[in-house]
């Protein structure tokens, strides 16, 4: 019995060791926290190790084009992976949407943001103590473009535009609001919530019908073509464990 257990244990160990590999992943900055957890679970479940690099999708694009050794890209949009695909820098047929981002209007101050976003219709922002509204640069970040969609759809450009300040990424936009240098800001729901609860301040979770869907695509890059760990990770991202973590952090699937 003991012997058999030991043998079973050894074979498991051996089995894992035989196929344990490493995969280098470029991860969009907004997906940092969930990905760290997914990588941990992935390592426990498969024995493969995922080395994560976090950053702006545009920067990853430039690096991948110039030979960066990333095997997998988890982008902040669906455009960049599509573009890489067209440029034949990815393995055909491996692209899929791993998460759909959700936009929130957020303030560090309690009660400033109502659950309909009516605060954006304020006649005078100054009177309500609002001097700056942060968004991510619409040219660089899909969340920024989505925020512009919402502002336009609500027809509040005239009042809102002069108050806008732009972060170069979602991380920076979040920083502007969390240090209260901007009283209001459009951030990723994933940055301010856990298990469907806003962690601090006040927020309006913008209905998804008000902006172009924030599809975030994953793709296998040429460097990962023959990497078993890379293939396993892409499969794992579509499994239940990963999906549970992804939704926990405020993403839709």
């Amino acid at each position: 019995m003991t012997l058999r257990l030991m043998l079973a244990f050894a074979s498991t160990l051996f089995g894992v060791a035989a196929q344990a590999g490493e995969v280098t992943v470029a991860v969009a900055a907004n997906f940092t926290t969930p990905m760290q957890q997914i990588a941990k679970a992935f390592e426990q479940d498969t024995g493969h190790k995922a080395l994560l690099a976090f950053g702006a999708t545009g920067k990853f694009y430039a690096q991948i084009k110039n030979g960066a050794p990333f095997a997998v890209l988890l982008a902040a949009d669906d455009e960049t992976p599509t573009r890489l695909e067209k440029e034949r820098l990815t393995v055909a047929g491996t692209r899929f949407t791993y998460a759909t981002g959700r936009l929130a209007l957020w303030s560090k101050l309690p009660n400033l943001v109502d659950d309909q976003g009516e605060v954006l219709r304020s006649k005078s922002f100054e009177k309500r103590g609002i001097y700056k509204i942060a968004i991510a640069d619409p040219k660089l970040a899909p969340y920024g473009a989505a925020a512009m969609d919402v502002i336009q759809r609500m027809g509040v450009q005239t009042n809102v535009m002069p108050k806008l300040v732009q972060g170069e990424s979602m991380g920076q936009t979040y920083q502007f609001v969390s240090t209260e240098n901007a009283e209001l800001g459009f951030v990723a729901l994933s940055q301010i919530s856990i298990d469907g609860r806003i962690t601090q301040g006040s927020a309006w979770v913008v209905p998804q019908s008000m902006y172009t869907p924030l599809k975030q695509d994953a793709v296998l890059l040429n460097a990962g073509k023959d990497n078993a760990a890379a293939h396993a990770l892409l499969k794992y991202l579509q499994g239940d464990t990963a999906k549970a973590i992804i939704t926990r952090y405020g993403y839709a699937l």
């Binding site: 430039a62 700056k132 732009q166 170069e168 920076q172 920083q175 209260e180 240098n181 901007a182």
Partner: protein, 237 residues
């Protein structure tokens, strides 16, 4: 390489030059007394103050920018002061960038001045004092002319370093056209948005500018040292 400079690119160039000019002027005013003190004091505070002034040389701009962002915010010490003074908060404004640039380029203004004042020695001021020149008079009519190469170098380095500033602006600027969007952040935006040809245009301008400034400094240095050498030779002869 095509020069695809748009109207917005030119706007960032103008703003950058304004920022660098204002910063350089403020820095010369601020750095002169600090450098004078550092060059002459025997206080135990000399080493700590010199290290504090040199900090921006070694700290990553993101650290400076992050501290500034927190300090400028409504709950930070600078933010509390500016609100009390009725100026609101300074982040995302031209004057916020000026403040950040002054901190960031401080060592580049102070160090050449300290060197110049130290090289001058205490003789000229002592001679001026025996001629009954007041301290201020002696400073402006003796020390400043003697330290002129130091002032020129401090001004050129501060200006060039501010033009090349990126991390701090990125952290506290907010990328507002005509207010806080400078050349370096505009280049970054072009690169991130994959507009490589526009990025090339502006980056080229930046490269040429930086080279010309360094070349100018090099020439100026060479000229002023060879001048003082000939002066010494004449005096020796």
């Amino acid at each position: 390489m095509g020069m695809n400079l748009s109207a917005e690119d030119f706007q960032t160039i103008t703003l950058t030059l304004q920022l660098a000019s204002v910063t350089t002027m403020l820095l010369l005013l601020l750095a002169t007394p600090v450098a004078w003190w550092l060059a002459h004091t025997r206080s135990v505070w000399r080493a700590p103050v010199a290290s504090l002034v040199a900090l921006p040389l070694v700290l990553p701009p993101t650290v400076l920018g992050f501290y500034l962002l927190v300090a400028l915010g409504p709950n930070g010490p600078i933010g509390q002061f500016t609100q009390w003074a009725g100026w609101g908060t300074l982040a995302f404004s031209f004057w916020g960038l000026v403040l950040g640039s002054v901190v960031y380029s401080l060592p580049f203004a102070v160090q050449p001045l300290v060197n110049a004042f130290e090289a001058m020695g205490s003789r000229p001021m002592e001679v001026a004092a025996t001629l009954r020149a007041s301290k201020w008079d002696a400073f402006f009519s003796v020390a400043v002319p003697l330290a002129k190469p130091g002032f020129v170098m401090a001004a050129m380095l501060s200006f060039a370093h501010t033009v090349g500033e990126f991390g701090v602006v990125l952290m506290i600027g907010g990328n507002i056209p005509d207010k806080t969007r400078v050349v370096s952040t505009q280049i970054y935006g072009h690169v991130e948005a994959m507009e490589y040809s526009q990025a090339h245009g502006l980056a080229g301008v930046m490269l040429v500018f930086s080279f010309v400034v360094l070349l100018g400094l090099s020439w100026f240095n060479h000229r002023s040292t060879s001048h003082s050498n000939t002066r010494h030779q004449k005096a020796g002869a």
